[in-house]
Subunit: 220 residues, 2 copies
């Protein structure tokens, strides 16, 4: 039996691949693990059947036999632990790969969430414009620090790992704000992630659900 993940029946991003199921799809593609997908509507996400899997009423979830997981970071690390390909075998390097995955989730992603709040949820508030500038400046601090760390490196720490998968996925969320254009080192790093065949398969799989059948090729 393949593991089953959940994904939006209709992603709010219309197929840009920014919904978090793309991260799990990417991890499964990297390790070559086939998977099944159950699509859930926004209504179903708030119903008891889904809340029993995900107490915060979101996607993705992951079911594999007796195991039911929510929280994308945990699902990706679980996949990385069960299959070769996403975590180094050297114990120190392995710990650092996990460190970078968690840094993406707890140090970088909160600034993206703050940007999303400023851009979308609070767009109609009187403070919208002024606060957006404030939040962008906070994001720039983190992106500059990450740039300094990354330097000329291909990936964060040696070979591509679950840490890169998560960091690229989080950084992708900055692209709509154009902030990524200010940091060519990071833009190049993200592009290397997107160029991986496993990412492209994951992207195409979510696009097939979210793009209108007659829509243009939004991968280009």
């Amino acid at each position: 039996m393949n593991p089953t993940i959940t994904a939006f029946q209709r992603s709010p991003d219309g197929g840009k691949g920014l919904a978090r199921d793309t991260r799990v799809r990417w991890a499964l593609e990297e390790v070559g693990q086939p998977y099944d997908v159950r699509l859930v509507s926004f209504e179903a996400m708030k119903q008891p059947a889904h809340l029993a899997r995900h107490p915060f009423g979101q996607i993705p979830t992951y079911e594999d036999g007796s195991l039911v997981l929510f929280e994308t970071g945990a699902i990706v690390l679980h996949i990385a632990e069960r299959h070769p390909g996403l975590l180094p075998t050297d114990p120190d390097a392995r710990a650092r790969a996990i460190m970078w995955a968690i840094a993406a989730l707890n140090t970088i992603e909160p600034t993206v969430l703050d940007l999303t709040a400023a851009r979308i949820f609070e767009a109609d508030r009187p403070w919208a414009k002024e606060r957006l500038r404030l939040v962008e400046d906070r994001a720039r601090v983190r992106l500059a620090q990450l740039t300094d760390y990354l330097g000329e490196k291909q990936w964060l720490d040696g070979d591509f790992s679950a840490g890169d998968l998560m960091m690229v996925s989080v950084l992708l969320r900055f692209r709509v704000t154009r902030l990524l254009d200010e940091f060519p080192t990071l833009a190049g790093y993200v592009a290397r992630g997107e160029a991986r065949p496993a990412y492209r398969r994951a992207f195409a799989a979510q696009l097939a659900i979210n793009a209108p059948p007659s829509g243009e090729d939004r991968l280009g």
Copy 2:
């Protein structure tokens, strides 16, 4: 050789135990691992020597032989993997404990960071009051969902784990906002965490650094 962690020379919270080194101290106390502490000033945190350990210029860091880690969640999970006591041996239960630790960091903590921004960093902005109400309401949604999940349970999933350590540590940050008082189920859960001898030792250790020598007992 004991592992060495870094902590604030002078914590901005004046010894309330909310700085992130307390989480690492707590984990080390739970597993009975002695540790050394190197205190860093705000100035030193931005210098190359510290940035080489922590690219985002924060505390804590963790050094053990050849391994240097930053990012509290990663340090706590590393300690939990290396010593018995913070992760169940059953593989499913272990994956769920890691899941809750990451849920604390990526689902709950961003709402705390947002609250801190609204309460502290943006306190002098014209939108401060109105936005604080908005941010509090967002936090209430998450705290209500967590309350529904926790119900009558002692801990999140069976025995106390790294997931509880992280969730209690994150929830503690809500206390200054009084939001925790609205959720007695969570307040009780946090109190159970704080009552653990390992937590009390961790708290006392950071207090000894941050409390003025003649100060009152802020534990009470």
